[in-house]
Symmetry: C2
Subunit: 396 residues, 2 copies
């Protein structure tokens, strides 16, 4: 049988990261390609104790169908924490639980976009978001990132000239893949532009809690007096990625559309782990736990930067992140990125080529992404040397 697939999926390729992830079954390859939290960051003992107690005292609630909006007690503590710690959430907002931050992005796209509409994105940006938009038949238009965030003039030009632009998708804090944090000045300008052009902003913030240097910057959502911002957060990088629990805070009117769309995707998020998150947040010290993760990533990031400083030829430039999971490296124009990535794999070290994060899939790139949260210290030391050796092969 010859299948006639939908236009929106016919041309969509599986994520390059996921494909690289799969090819890493070879244990001799050191991977800087993943974006996984460090295994040491999971509070295993605490989750295990809570889990045993749930099976003992409330197993039926934890195993039965539940509400699409999420476990009410968890919604409440998440909303409270967003409000008190980050000034996020006004009277018109509502907070619901989703199956990872990824689902929040996809549901927002479904709520606002018809096939053929456009989402404006930072370029480069998170491939999972790009593919969420594409899989809904939506175009993506990229606006270049600078060291302090999106180029504001180009953003306004794009807002002015793009027909049917329905959403502006941003990762203002420790951006994936570029590691860039948008300045407070630019955040204010972005919000003003959103207001001026009446466009809804998705503020994706999976890494916001992982700051290990520099000063906290207010989120765009915290400035949202008009109900323009959909904020997507996640427990993936602070408790467990595999449980798939995230949250959205947005105006109630938007949330009610997202909930209808969520209902038909998965009915609700795994309720057992929603209860686990609630219990962890109310019975243990989440902030103290986050502090230990920050220390861990500060150390790992510094180790990778030290090794890059020591080993990498000067022609390679790289960011010095203040948080998050990634360092963004840029090769000189003389080196072909695709050849380089292949040579690195042959040398037993894997990175993600920047082309994977481009809004325009045909656009070139001479950057690649390094992750320091997943590899061990030994792998960081050895892997950076292998990578530096690979560069030297190309410039000798």
């Amino acid at each position: 049988m010859e299948y006639n697939f939908s236009n929106k999926l016919a041309s969509l390729k599986p994520s390059a990261i996921r494909e690289i992830f799969k090819s890493l079954s070879d244990p001799s390859i050191i991977s800087f390609a993943a974006g996984n939290p460090a295994p040491e960051s999971f509070p295993i003992k605490e989750l295990s104790m809570i889990s045993a107690d749930i099976f003992e005292n409330s197993p039926v609630t934890a195993l039965q169908y539940s509400l699409t909006e999420g476990y009410p007690a968890l919604r409440q503590v998440v909303a409270d924490r967003l409000k008190t710690k980050f000034s996020i959430g006004r009277d018109f907002d509502s907070t619901v639980i989703v199956t990872g931050g990824q689902q929040g992005i996809e549901l927002t796209c479904k709520a606002f976009c018809n096939e053929g509409d456009t989402v404006i994105c930072e370029n480069p940006t998170f491939i999972g978001a790009l593919n969420a938009f594409r899989s809904n038949g939506v175009n993506t238009v990229g606006v270049d990132l600078e060291d302090d965030g999106i180029n504001i003039e180009k953003l306004e030009e794009t807002l002015k000239t793009t027909k049917n632009a329905k959403l502006l998708y941003l990762i203002p804090t420790f951006q994936n893949p570029a590691g860039i944090t948008t300045s407070f000045e630019k955040r204010k300008k972005i919000y003003e532009l959103a207001k001026k052009y009446s466009i809804v902003v998705i503020e994706d913030n999976p890494y916001g809690e992982l700051r290990f240097a520099g000063e906290e910057i207010p989120t765009i959502k915290s400035m949202d007096t008009e109900g323009l911002v959909v904020y997507c957060g996640s427990f993936s990088k602070i408790l467990s990625a595999g449980m798939r629990v995230g949250f959205m805070c947005a105006p109630e009117e938007i949330i009610s559309k997202a909930v209808v769309a969520k209902q038909v995707e998965d009915v609700h998020t795994n309720i057992f782990f929603q209860m686990l998150c609630y219990r962890y947040m109310t019975e243990w010290d989440l902030d103290a736990h986050i502090e230990t993760i920050r220390s861990l990533y500060r150390r790992k990031c510094n180790l990778m930067l030290d090794e890059l400083d020591k080993n990498m030829p000067d022609c390679v430039k790289y960011t010095r992140p203040e948080g998050g999971l990634f360092i963004w490296c840029t090769l000189p124009d003389t080196i072909d990125l695709s050849e380089f990535t292949k040579a690195a794999i042959a040398n037993k070290v894997a990175v993600v080529p920047g082309t994977a994060f481009n809004c325009d899939t045909e656009a070139p790139s001479n950057s690649f992404r390094l992750n320091y949260s997943t590899p061990s210290d030994e792998q960081i030391v050895n892997g950076v040397r292998l990578l530096a050796d690979t560069v030297k092969q190309f410039i000798k």
Copy 2:
């Protein structure tokens, strides 16, 4: 701010069942409206023991990001069980894990349908599937159900005359809401029609394991020599509904599209509970557990039928199911369904009106759905009497 929602979501209402479910916070109302498995059906002790062991021996795998396709060991045992027990799955098929059977339906729709395309359904049918199609901007066209399954002549007529019909969605076994099981003869005819008109069939089978009377009938998927059938199954009714773990078995080419679509919806299904399912299937006796659930539902169904026989005026007709979770009742034409449903709630008993399950949301109905798996025995006895009293109010 005035929001401009997508056409596909702008008109979509939250599921009537979910809304009724929410209104049931009044504990004095007896609900026959849900479709929840009986709380006694969860193997709590076994899941608790396995869970403790996972936290002890493989916590990192259980809490870390995983593959979109699902936990490989679970995929294998699910595929093996489908093959050996139900003759499902050929060389060209692949089995993947999804976040409940609901996600399998939605992903298949995304893989095949552009906005404006049509899915042909049994009428009435599962509201979660109808809304999955609608939320993707897809039209639904219903073909009447008869006592032994869909009307074959009308199905062929619909296949012949419907432009851009991309999928045929069916629940051949213990249909929701009508409780009807499609005969073997009709299943063969449906498969022949699918072949003749080159249309892909979604065979949704969440209740197939819950037969407590009559003879097993082969699935349509077991006849699938040409790769025309997407089979959706679930652990919701045999292990736990709240964990949201289901599976799809379909030709590899379709599965690869569904996996791309799944990746952008939730990255992967909760991995801890995938491991829990795998361990339960390999270390405990799933078939024996299913046998106890069947006995439980046989008893509950018979109790409800006995009470209906004793109390319900003759003018009300109802099905005598051989499995599944539902009895379908039909009122005489003289009673207005909407008035009846309201009066029932006033009398402290809730049912789902048949209109909720119509492909054409404006079409009338004089039927309603009763569920016997969720209420206690006492609630079944008292609730049926309240319902019979409600009918008598209308015919006096």
